[in-house]
Amino acid sequence: MAVITSVVYVDYLPSKFRWLPRTTAKINSPPPILISTNPLHVNPNNLKELYTLCHHSCHRFPTVDAAGRVEPVDLLKLRTAISHSSIVVSVFTKPEFLEPQSSISNGIGGEWIRNLAPVTLENGELIGFGRAVTDMALTASIYDVMVHPTLQGRGIGRMIVQRIIRMLTNRDIYDIAALCTDNERFIPEVLFFKACGFGDDMLGSTTMMYTRPPSGYSKDEQMISAGRKLLLIPQPRELSR
């Protein structure tokens, strides 16, 4: 577990600067956060809320209601997914940093003192998440990287991805794939992953997904629903030689 805090040593600054409120706050730097790679630290209920907040769905083609909200994640499946993901990264911060910037700067040096107390699992709230599935030798796929909307654009997502990549390369896995949705409504995932060092496949392979719907002609057809898609379960065919 890594604990990242921005602790400011008040003694080193000249006295005339001490009471200056941080009006020119660096918007692009992250707040004090705790990054954990232990799957046990993730509470599935909090994670489910985070999925909804980030408008993220586990299905590639999610059902979206009239207000634009995605369907909530199935809790049991989420637990299964986390317990079988090789790598789980979660990011916590103190709830007050979720407030808009203006309400923080108050009092005498209040912000620095607030930054001194580190984020722990007890006082931290889940604001970022990412996971990866690997076969532990050759390949890996990164799924569900998300950061709370009010804290996006501050480098937290990139930290998550870089932590995942580092854990994978420590195990000698360099074939790392990520599926992104080119969704114009929210921060484009494609640009995000490009900034993290991802690109189109060098070997020119095409990404494909199973989308065959039931044809509706045969009564025997079996199907499952995945988000808003219905997928046909293929039946074994007779092979004659």
Binding site: S86, A177, M208, Y210
Partner: protein, 240 residues
């Protein structure tokens, strides 16, 4: 330290465990899963060290432990084996193509098959680990039963496909290959269809794969769509 497996013995692979055991992966790179009992012991050890480590704020990268969850009881794909097609050869012997999802593969046979289709060589140990940690591995073997003597069957690996998954939402199909002399008979299609069927029956809805340009049409015929609705696959390139 080289590969522990001797050339003549087949690798017995138990149903794949997707869990990462930090202790076993550190000490035994080619750790054979000797059953669930060993797994539980290692998990206890991992918990012991974790409790010691939790007091120390260290930048630890090997934080990958499987939590003992109640969802452990859900079944892994049950191994299946059946005869896909049977043919009588001109010399009187019967050739059977047997489909199997049990994961009993000799890694050296697999390496030979990869050579036959022209793929670059990968370390045997990595192949073994990858197969062990894949959610599902399906294979095709060809068995030629000689009509005269008993017990003189020749069995060889002629096809394989594997998929990794998080057991709930996503699965990716990797490494699909069929012996060139057996291609064009619908064997590859059967392999993939069986894989898809099992994944969908377990409610795993996102099945994806990365296809070479030559086989895009093959997968389209199976129901895969290239870059559906703006979904893009990206790969990581280390910048030096």
């Amino acid at each position: 330290m080289d590969v522990v497996v001797s050339l003549s013995t087949a690798y017995k692979l138990y149903p794949p465990f997707a869990s990462l055991d930090c202790l076993s992966s550190l000490n035994y790179p080619f750790h054979l899963n000797r059953g669930r009992k060993n797994q539980k012991v290692c998990r206890l050890k991992a918990g012991f060290w974790e409790s010691i480590r939790s007091g120390i704020l260290k930048n630890n990268t090997a934080q990958v432990i499987e939590p003992p969850s109640t969802t452990e009881e859900e079944e892994e794909p049950l191994p299946e084996e059946f005869v896909l097609v049977e043919k009588t050869l001109p010399d009187g012997t019967v050739e059977q193509i047997i489909f199997s999802s049990g994961g009993n593969i000799d890694v050296y046979d697999l390496q030979d098959l990869c050579d036959k289709v022209g793929w670059p060589r990968r370390p045997v140990s990595k192949l073994a680990t990858a197969l062990r940690n894949s959610y599902m591995v399906v294979t095709l073997h060809s068995t030629i039963k000689s009509s005269e003597e008993e017990g003189n069957d020749q069995k060889k690996l002629i096809g394989m496909a594997r998929a990794t998954s998080d057991h709930a939402f996503n699965a990716t199909i990797w490494d699909v290959l069929v012996d060139p002399s057996y291609q064009g008979q619908g064997l590859g299609k059967s392999l993939i269809e069986k894989l898809i069927k099992t994944l969908l029956q377990r409610d795993i809805g996102n099945i994806s794969l990365f296809a070479d340009s030559k086989v895009v049409e093959f997968y389209q015929n199976l129901g895969f769509q290239p870059d559906p609705e703006g979904i893009k696959g990206m790969f990581w390139y280390p910048k030096y």
